[in-house]
């Protein structure tokens, strides 16, 4: 009894925070989404107008999934290698992975503009060896590159945390039962990394699907993402009601996507390892 009182007392600050900055704003978003911008009356009109944004929404999902998959392909070997190192080396490499995150997200994205633009650093280098100029900026590739670059650490860290916890004796047990290196990986290490893969995918997918800055700086007119559209409703469009409706739909979509991903994890009891 007393223990429960303590638990309530200890979590009070966070509960207050959550009510003030998550639940109430969420209510406000829902209120705007379900209100007619002209009359202020209850209305589904905003949700009906969403149809025209479906292609943008679809594009956002495709780009985000692509970047999550690329992050997985790049990140898994790195996470695996870090987990095999000696503890001191692990700490150092872990820090290296974290290092870009110490730099401002805006600055990191802007740096890519300088690298990729038509008269940028990469193109002037290519010109010297007689190639190009290549069109790199304002392409889907540039947007996905921006996502991968910015969110790769969010893939590596949960993967590392999962792989490093795999009991080494399980690997020996697999070798003992006849597995060569490739089979050990396929039959034991990979299945046991699934929780880390799922949480890494989620942590890359969620911020990617709602980003607007990356697509604005690195993308062109045909790489508009849902985040851009939402931002536009609040700024230029001056239609916060529609923006709120879009946000609400995006949020539901993220829930559904992460739900599906975690369902793949099935009965693995560890669930998502969030770092």
């Amino acid at each position: 009894m007393k223990k429960r009182n303590n638990a309530v007392l200890l979590s009070t600050p966070y509960l207050l925070w959550m009510v003030a900055f998550t639940l109430i704003p969420l209510g406000v978003v829902a209120y705007y989404a379900l209100t007619d911008p002209a009359t202020g009356a209850f209305s589904f009109r905003n949700l009906k107008d969403l149809g025209m944004y479906l292609p943008v929404l679809w594009q956002s999902i495709v780009y985000s999934l692509a970047s999550a998959v690329i992050c997985l392909i790049l990140g898994y070997p790195v996470a695996y290698c870090i987990a095999q190192c000696r503890p001191a080396t692990q700490k150092f490499l872990y820090m290296l992975v974290m290092l870009p995150m110490c730099m401002s997200f805006l600055l990191r994205t802007l740096a890519w503009v300088g690298l990729l633009q038509d008269t940028g650093i990469l193109n002037s280098l290519l010109a010297r060896i007689g190639i190009g100029p290549l069109k790199m900026i304002r392409t889907p590739g540039a947007v996905i590159l921006g996502m991968v670059y910015n969110y790769l650490p969010y893939m590596i860290l949960p993967l590392y945390a999962t792989i490093v916890k795999i009991d080494h004796r399980l690997i020996e047990a697999a070798e003992d039962l006849g597995c060569n290196g490739v089979q050990v990986f396929g039959r034991v290490v990979l299945p046991l990394s699934v929780p880390g893969i799922l949480s890494g995918m989620t942590m890359v997918f969620v911020p990617s699907v709602s980003t607007f800055y990356i697509s604005q700086k690195l993308g062109g007119t045909d790489t508009v993402l849902i985040g851009d559209v939402i931002e536009r409703q609040f700024k230029q469009g001056n239609n916060p009601n529609l923006g709120a409706a879009l946000s609400l739909v995006l949020m539901l979509l993220v829930f559904v996507c992460t739900g599906i991903m975690n369902r793949f994890g099935g009965d693995s009891e560890e669930g998502g390892v969030i770092v």
Binding site: A174, L177, Q183, D267
Partner: protein, 374 residues
Amino acid sequence: MSKELIRLQDLTVEFDGERILDGINLYFNDHEFLTLLGPSGCGKTTTLRIIGGFLKPTSGTVTFDGKKVNDVPPYQRQINTVFQRYALFPHLDVYDNIAFGLKVAKLPKDEIKRRVSEMLEIVSLKGYENRSVDSLSGGQQQRVAIARALVNRPKVLLLDEPLAALDLRLRKDMQNELKRIQQATGITFIYVTHDQEEALSMSDTVVVMDKGRIQQIGRPEDIYNEPKNAFVADFIGESNILDGVMLQDYKVRFFGRVFDCVDKGFAPSENVDVVIRPEDIDIVPPEQGHLVGTVTSITFKGLNYDIIVEFKGFKWLIQTTDYHGVGSVIGIRLNPEDIHIMHKSEYSGMFGDYSSYSAEYDELTEDAADEEAE
């Protein structure tokens, strides 16, 4: 009848300059139940890991069936292991854990099914096929681990303290079970434990190890009855170990008195360790005793009492079924076959007293030494 299967020759292992194994020479026969016994850090698990292929020796050779296998990886050896704390695959159910090795070997599906259910029968886990391994008790997990190894029909099964995590009753049951499985299958078992009782009751051969070296190899009875040095005498069962002098064959002097014994072949007047097992000592009225002492403590153990008896300052452990209260004066008699003589070793003086050496006892041995000098 039994042919040699594995041989370890001059095996040495070093980690960061520390010597873990120091010149191990050992062979294993086919169909044998051999136990590596010793305290933690003695090198027994390291020896097992070398046989399994998980570790390469710093120097020395490992031969399997006459062929050198130092560089053969674990997955190419006809050896399976039951790991300490089992190392079951948490992402697979009981059936898939047991079937793991057979699936890797790409056996036909129906044969896998037949062999797994046969194995489930042997370890009495029928009906548990689809249970997750986390939902099993320690004893059940242990049996899955045994089944997972045995289903591959290895030539040798390595067992690394497989019963250490179980409670006493279950451990006794599993000891019988393992012995039965070993006899039924005829597979060579190499068993690692620090539990001397387990080693004595299950094994055909016991190898006692300490400090990376083999201290003694023998049948359980021989190890118990004829320990080679003070370490073995102390590690296997309880022992009173005394300083003595071998006067000639069959005559040993300790506690200032000459006793008949059954040992021979020592140098004249060689200093020796004398082992007397607590259960071998006969308690008699003081006037009939070879030695007379005073009981200083008594502990009820169920089967018997453990009493500590002080003889001129040196304390012995004696096991008796009769009650002797603290302070009572008793005599003891030692029959020749109760006295075991060992050469002095690096372990002499480290084990086998049930109090610290007292000043009086030092005097006594000095007296004996003086007498000898005369």
